[in-house]
């Protein structure tokens, strides 16, 4: 499973608040950094699903 963040993400950092193991708000570059650019470890797949559900703007896609 891979995480993709859409351009319309609002950089609010809610994903980092709730799932810091997957996301970091990068204030300097005005973007969200992913802990895993490629496949995420299977034990984090549930967290990724939850993050997709909790995102304030539905900008987290899973592939």
């Amino acid at each position: 499973m891979k995480i993709e963040i859409q351009d319309y993400c609002i950089r609010c950092g809610l994903c980092e608040d709730l799932y810091p193991q997957l996301f970091t708000l990068n204030i300097d570059d005005d973007k969200i950094d992913l802990a895993y650019d490629d496949d995420i470890p299977t034990d984090l797949e549930q967290a990724a699903q939850d993050a997709r559900r909790d995102c304030a703007i539905a900008a987290i896609f899973l592939k």
Binding site: C12, D30, C55, I57, A58
Partner: protein, 507 residues
Amino acid sequence: MKSLTTDIAIMGSGLAGLTAAVKAAEAGAKVAVFEKRPFQGGGVSNTPMMTLVVRDEQEYKDKAFKVHMEYTNYSADAAMVRSWIDNSSHIPEFINRLGIDFLHVLKFDLDTLGRLPGYGGGFPNGMHIGDYYLLKPQGKGHGAAVICKRMADTVTKLGGDVRFSCPVTGLVREGDKVTGLVATEKDGDELHVNAKAVIIASGGFSDNPQMIKKYTGFTYTNNNCDDGGDVLFNTLPGARLTGDGQQAVWAIGGAQGSMGINGHNLVPGPGIIGNTPWVMKNQMRIIQEQPYLWVNQRGERFIDEDISNNHMAMGTCIASQPGRCAYIIVDEATVRRMEQVGLDHIYFIFPAEKLSDVRGQFEYLINVVGNKHAFMADTLEELCAQTGISLEGLEKTLKAYNDYCDAGYDAQFAKNPAFLRPVREPKFYALRCFCGGYQALGGIRVNGNCEVVDADYEPIKGLYAAGDCAAGNIWGDPPTGGIGVSTISFAHGFISARKAVEHAKAL
């Protein structure tokens, strides 16, 4: 140098700018929106959880107007207040047309307007002047984020141009009118925009420490208040609200409007809130809401603590204390009561009825997180040594205050006897609170038509402003516990679009 021609050019894609863009595009105008960040909604789109709407009934609108004017001691710009209130009733239909429902609507009777205590939809105490429309959120966000996205999509669908990472750097004025703006494109190229009308909707200035110092007297601080600063903001990190619109307007002769910071009592953040201010890591925000003993650095009480859940009043009081900070102090007996019996003020945003393991929460904050504003001590001497509160002052205060608690009457400030809880039994717990603002607001002076005016209050043709950047005078001059709120941003969006389109069509 590139150029672009449009009817209406808009600076900023927050609630105000995008509302204006949708309305102007629907009225048939060619619209271009310029946003400095790489996405719609900017610094605070994911914050409003509700919007206030004054019912479209004359007696409700009249009452709301009168309550508001009285609240500002008649220092508010009455024409702006009237036009905001008169336009607010169009907000629900506007939001519904974007395909968005409300979570809940709280309606209030005429009699209750201006009379309900407590935190009212972001408004100051007693300022319930309308109905609350709770915005339907996506996921764990707040609803305005989705509204901004839908509005940006709507503008594009209607043939408008929404440009991200494209900050506006200046306005073009020719004689008595504004004819366009200058922006910087993603690749660094300068873009000259010719427009029949320009709407400034670039928000507040909470990320500009120089403007905060110069225009409000506060000192901006980092999130731990360990750099000598004295005001905190609740905006999202990296919001980049640097007052660009205000500076651009002043540079071409627009008058300065009233500017301020809305009050809020806040304990500095580390270990307490996340990036998003409604993600709480513990129950400190709930403790700071309680009506127990509050003292200043001199150890003196300064207010009937019952207002501690009225954020603007409490923030304003705290800002008037030495060092611009204050402390809530509770003892072990009150902690036990908050854990076992319950709380006296229930904060609807963080609605706990009881607390759990308060000592553990303080220990974690102090020892693991290193928050410098949470304290716990076995003696008053130790508490004063940690906090810097005057021991002599605190002992004197406690002698009187504990007597009031025993007698059931607060001879100093007449606090509700139900909230008189003595401070006697170790351990003693304290939180240092500063004045916090949601955002710094105002700076552009507009009239009731959202037209930007010059030093003689004469409108500058073709130039309008909307939302937080122009909301200062709605709260008086200087603003009295003023606040930038979504209802003003929406209403200003409607008004500025209507006037800008009329102006463009007449050219």
